[in-house]
């Protein structure tokens, strides 16, 4: 049975280089002395650290809890002691540091007791909570918390798509995973199907991976379909694979769930199997190490493994290496600090050399040849977006649908003038987001300022009213008491006293803060803490003073 496939526009055919790393089985890594586990490994709010320095942890113990809805947990990769909780190098294009828990391994690698889950008889919401606490996030690169994606919500999901396309050159981790652990993947897919309640399951694999195709075909039950899709970058992009398999376009600004389709990565299915059927949280993933290294291949890597140790496990970089790429060559980024650890998002580490990755020739002017538009899988006009992004005319750049760009890199790849188009788009997007943030805070500030002005106005009014009333009263009293009291001196004194009282009252009113009510709990907490610290300090100085 062959399924009708759809072809999206554009796309490119870069050299695959898959054979460099897909020939050998997935290797395990020996235990390392230190693991660095960042708290922000997924899209959404970072996990909140649950351990303190000096705590003993076991393998699989939750060390960071999900914070807010779009978040997920983080676990200890091995048993040992927490030695630091601070900002560490993380795999991020900026090279900036981020909060991480550093664990010193005790070498025992003692695990928590893992509890397999009877997911078939579990309420879907309970299953999702479990998956959230297991730290599952999409392992394809977007790392969106999986439990949210497994919530069909109001949308009826009719089709589940498993993404085994792995269209980026060099990367082979899903390829090896499918070849070696097809049965486990399928059991993970069963869990997804159960949670989503969908009928159709499609497994899309690019036709440059015949072994993986065969292994998956052998493993799937009759009601799942393994589909061979043509090799074309970025055919493994979620929107592109969905279109290739179903002919449905994911609406702009929306998700595939809006059209009743959910897409998961192969690695996610495998990890889901481990966390649900074995009860082991997401503490490891398969990572490809390839390029200019001694023994390229795939490794089963604990989350938190420093990338330099991973590189060493692959025999280290060969002489003449010129840096590393995290992720694929089309969408990855330069590794700034090799102390950065493997996170849930890291699927590949490529060692560059000048022959495999020559420096890009200098950028010339755009000649509007339209190659980029023909290569664009989103049917955009990249040269127009570039033209205005370059001139920092972000409004016009946006009017050419800048935000439909998936940053796949096809346009930069084909550009005859070697313009780093995607860099211009990333720059423009970042600037637009920044402006939106600024706009939002400006609006907030305006509201708060207007409220303050209004409040001052109102208080002034109230005070004036009060004063007028008081004056009225005293005049009345004066009028009625004029014939009773004869002593003008006493009367004068009384008036002076009254005025002084009034002034004092007014002054007191003025210094009474008006905005301490309705504080958000965070702020209140902060104040309380600072107050406590302060009273402590004051207490200390007081006691010191007493001692003296």
């Amino acid at each position: 049975m062959s399924r009708k496939l759809f072809t999206f526009n554009g796309g490119v055919h870069p050299d695959g280089h898959k054979a460099v790393s897909n020939a050998t089985p997935i290797r395990a890594m020996s235990l390392l002395p230190h693991y660095v586990v960042p708290m922000r490994q997924h899209i959404g709010a970072p996990a909140r650290p649950m351990v303190s320095i000096g705590d003993q942890v076991l393998r699989g113990q939750m060390i960071g809890a999900a914070e807010g809805y779009v978040s997920t947990a983080v676990h200890a990769p091995t048993s040992g002691r927490v030695v630091a909780i601070d900002a560490r190098a993380v795999p991020h294009p900026s090279g900036l540091f981020d909060l991480a828990v550093v664990i010193e391994a005790d070498g025992e690698d003692q695990a928590l007791e893992f509890q397999p889950l009877d997911w078939r008889n579990l309420d879907p919401s309970a299953l999702r909570n479990r998956i959230r606490d297991m730290g599952l996030a999409g392992l394809g690169g977007a790392v969106f918390p999986s439990f949210i994606k497994l919530n069909p919500g109001a949308q009826k999901i009719h089709t589940l798509i498993l993404n085994g396309a792995e269209c980026e050159p060099w990367i082979t981790c899903d390829d090896r995973l499918m070849r070696e652990r097809a049965a486990e993947i399928v059991r993970g897919i069963e869990v997804m199907r159960h949670a989503l309640g969908c009928r159709t399951t499609l497994i899309g694999i690019e036709d440059n991976k015949p072994e993986a195709l065969a292994a998956m075909r052998a493993a799937v039950p009759a009601d799942m379909e393994v589909v061979s899709v043509p090799t074309l970058y970025p055919g493994g992009g979620g929107k592109q694979l969905t279109y290739t398999l179903t002919g449905v376009e994911t609406p702009t600004g929306g998700r595939s769930t809006d059209v009743g389709i959910q897409v998961f990565n192969m690695g996610t299915a495998y990890s889901l199997y481990r966390s649900v059927e074995l009860g082991e949280p997401l503490i490891s993933r398969v990572v490809t190490v390839t390029g200019h290294v001694a023994q390229a291949g795939n490794f089963d890597v604990r989350i938190g493994t420093p990338l330099k140790d991973l590189l060493a496990a692959a025999g280290g970089a060969l002489p003449g290496a010129s840096g590393e790429i995290v992720g694929g060559p089309m969408m990855g980024f330069d590794l700034m600090d090799s102390a950065a650890p493997v996170t849930k998002a890291v699927n590949c580490l490529i060692v560059k050399n000048p022959k495999l990755f020559p420096t890009k020739p200098i950028e010339l002017s755009c000649i509007r040849c339209g190659e980029c538009a023909r290569a664009c899988p989103a049917d955009l006009q990249p040269f127009e977006m570039y033209w205005y992004s370059r001139a920092k005319d972000f409004g016009r750049a946006q009017s050419y649908n800048l935000f439909d760009c998936i940053e796949c890199g096809c346009c930069s790849f084909v550009c005859p003038s070697h313009i780093p188009l995607v860099d211009y788009f990333r720059f423009a997007k970042a600037e637009i987001w920044e402006r939106e943030r600024e706009k939002y805070s400006a609006d907030q500030a305006r509201i708060r300022h207007e409220f303050k002005t209004f409040r001052l106005e109102r208080e002034k009014q109230e005070k004036a009213d009060k004063f007028a009333k008081a004056a009225e009263k005293s005049r009345e009293a004066a009028a009625s008491g004029a014939d009773v009291v004869a002593d003008p001196d006493a009367e004068k004194k009384k008036a002076i006293l009254q005025a002084a009282l009034e002034r004092a009252k007014k002054a007191k009113e003025a210094v009474t803060p008006k905005n301490t009510d309705n504080l958000p709990p965070m702020v209140q907490k902060e104040i309380d803490e600072i107050e406590a610290r302060r009273s402590k300090v004051e207490g200390n100085t007081e006691s010191q003073a007493r001692h003296e």
């Binding site: 376009e249 010339l364 755009c366 339209g370 989103a378 049917d379 050419y400 790849f413 005859p416 860099d423």
Partner: protein
């Protein structure tokens, strides 16, 4: 800082330009065969002036010479202008043409990729407006000329003026010029077409006519560009259809005034225009629908200017006029983006 992608294709701008220039070779060869060696002189002169002006401006702007001079874009402009101008014109004509093409139309806008108008056609239009007499003295087909020039003669003519040889001995009006003048004089169509420069009478060996063969050679070069996907089919096809359809309608209305579409397609700059000039990506429309509109309109204007205007050929003006419309056309013909519905796009506005 430059991020991903870290790999890139082997295409480059100078390669693109070079391929286009290679595709011009068959046409140039045919031109030299039929009209004498003057074409080599004008190609050489135009190239030299183009590189000279380009270097001058780059130096003035303080930009590096090597990457910009090696992108071949100035050379391509020079070739296109040389092929549009009459050969054997005085040398300063080429200089003025290249001045307008390279300095005014290209470098003042910021150089390659920034110009709004096709540089070669700006040069041509500026010349035909300023020096109409020189622009109508084309070399006669070799067999029709009283005096066949050698390449040395050609240099002599270009640099030293007419010298010993009278220009009447080697120049003649072009096909389109002749048609226009004769029709206005009331000469019957049959008599005009009986002149040796018309039709296929010239033939390859006779070197009598030859404009059709040159045009066909440009066509062949254009097909080569199409086959290596350097240009898309939209502009050439729409351009040719625009010319042929308009000329055809006019021909049907009044065959005594308007030449047949075939004559239009194979004369003047139509073939060169359709495949090499109108397709210049910088100044042409860039969306698929926009390209069709742009090229059909340009073809239409060519035929209209040829039929009713004061200038014998309209390719340069038609291309410039449509260059003017390009930003407008592009603005309103943006293709649908993946995931957008037509109505949703409208709602968002």
């Amino acid at each position: 800082m430059i991020g991903s992608p870290y790999i890139f294709g082997r295409n480059s701008t100078s390669l693109v330009m070079l391929k286009v220039m290679l595709a011009l070779i068959p046409g140039i060869a045919a031109h030299a065969w039929f009209f004498g060696p003057g074409i080599w002189v004008s190609l050489l002169l135009c190239s030299a002036f183009a590189l000279g002006f380009e270097t001058l401006i780059l130096l003035l702007r303080g930009l590096p010479l090597k990457p910009f001079l090696s992108d071949n874009s100035a050379l391509l402009t020079a070739w296109l202008l040389a092929l549009s101008l009459p050969t054997l014109a005085p040398w300063w004509l080429y200089a003025v043409g290249m001045l307008f093409a390279i300095v005014v139309a290209k470098q003042l806008y910021g150089g390659i990729g920034q110009n709004l108008f096709n540089p070669a056609m700006v040069g041509y239009a500026a010349l035909i407006v300023s020096f109409p007499v020189y622009m109508t003295q084309w070399p006669a087909p070799i067999a029709l000329a009283d005096h066949a020039l050698t390449i040395v003669d050609a240099f002599d003519v270009v640099f030293a003026g007419q010298g010993a040889i009278s220009p009447d001995a080697y120049t003649s009006a072009t096909v389109l010029d002749t048609w226009k003048t004769q029709v206005r004089l009331g000469t019957p169509v049959e008599t005009i077409l009986a002149q040796p420069m018309f039709g296929w009478a010239g033939g390859l060996a006779g070197r009598l006519g030859g404009q059709e063969i040159v045009a066909l050679m440009y066509f062949v070069g254009g097909l080569a560009l199409l086959s290596i996907r350097l240009i898309t089919w939209h502009i050439p096809l729409a351009f040719l259809i625009g010319v042929a359809a308009t000329a055809g309608v006019l021909h049907l209305i009044d065959p005594t005034q308007h030449a047949s579409p075939l004559l239009h397609l194979l004369s003047g700059g139509v073939m060169l225009g359709a495949f090499f000039i109108a397709t210049d990506p910088v100044s042409a429309a860039s969306t698929p629908r926009g390209k069709l509109i742009y090229a059909v309109m340009a073809g239409f204007l060519v035929a209209i200017i040829r039929a009713f205007g004061s200038y014998p050929d309209g390719v340069a003006f038609a291309v410039l006029l449509m260059n003017m419309c390009v930003p407008f056309i592009d603005h309103f013909t943006q293709p649908r983006v993946f995931g957008h519905t037509r109505t949703a796009a409208k709602d968002a506005k």
